[in-house]
Amino acid sequence: MDVILGITTEKEVIVITSRAAVRGVSILKTDDDKTRVVAPHTLLAYTGEAGDTVQFAEYIQANIQLHEMRNTTELSPPAITSFIRTQLATSLRSRKPYNVNVLVAGFDTATDKPELNWIDYLASRVKVPYAAHGYAAYYTLSLLDRWHRTDLTLAEGLEVADMCIAELKKRLPIDFKGVEIKVVDKDGVRTEKVTE
């Protein structure tokens, strides 16, 4: 029941992840960060099977960083997304596939546009204006259908994000211990707000 949510605005991508690390019926941790910065302008948010998630995210992070060091150039968000999809697609047909769903939030410095990609464990990839994984999708996508615009300002985007979080708090049966709200824009990745 992890919450992973991404919303693009006119100049940035807002990424919202829940802070609870849950195993069975127990909450193990209340300050969990379900994201990894894979490149200066690209953030990877993930959910899925316990061990697989961090293992996969850090594998991607390491390989992107290695590529950057070897070629002294930053990979664009679409390039990184393609790489992640290929890795998941090959893994899907292996003996033990990664059970990981991800959102890739990036700011493309070449086109000056924010970009959000949705990839599930089957390696289906789509570029979307807003997306969520798991149960959160059922409660937030309808809200986003109503309130999202491509020309949202950051303040307006955060307002929509707050509406989504309020709805999730109201409807999800388990407390997800607040959220981390991160923003990816032309200056890179930053933590905008952390709630309890």
């Binding site: 949705w118 599930d120 089957l122």
Partner: protein, 205 residues
Amino acid sequence: MSDPSSINGGSIVAMAGKDCVAIACDMRLGMQALTVSNDFPKIFQYNNSFIGLTGLGTDVTTLSEVFRYKVNMYNLREERDIEPETFANLVSTTLYEKRFGPYFVGPVVAGINSKSGKPYICGFDLIGCINFAKDFVVGGTSSHQLFGMCESLWEPDLEPEDLFETISQALMNAQDRDALSGWGGIVYVITKDKIVKRLLKTRQD
């Protein structure tokens, strides 16, 4: 429910007309009943051949990349464009390579042979058995509905404009009866020296 070919949903249809062919697809990508995106086109162009790929979303993307690579290699080796008939055989062999662990797709190929000017359309099953047709081929989660629509709307020797109308109506009315397809459409009408791509605005439910 967990049938790989109907997790993500989507449909395609191709029709032959008089010295022209048309191929059309919907725009949905979902996870079961939840629609994730309404901007997921399923038709890809390689030289003068078009392929519509429906089925498991991941295999649609993977195969579109595999065919891009294989057609680029063909172009370099042969120093000419690939013809629709040749491309259809390439698709068939590519799919059969994975005979015992297949890609979960239902492809449809359409194009006009640049030498003879003859329209060519065909469909495949997931392991690459070619189904060549003179009239129309369908694929995807609304294939039953599409068969019905095509069977009643299609007639021989349609001109490009009429073919566009026929294929569009066939696609739209078929996908309106399928919960896993829809959310817009794309239609390509291909004649010997012109390709027209049109976007269909359809019901958003």
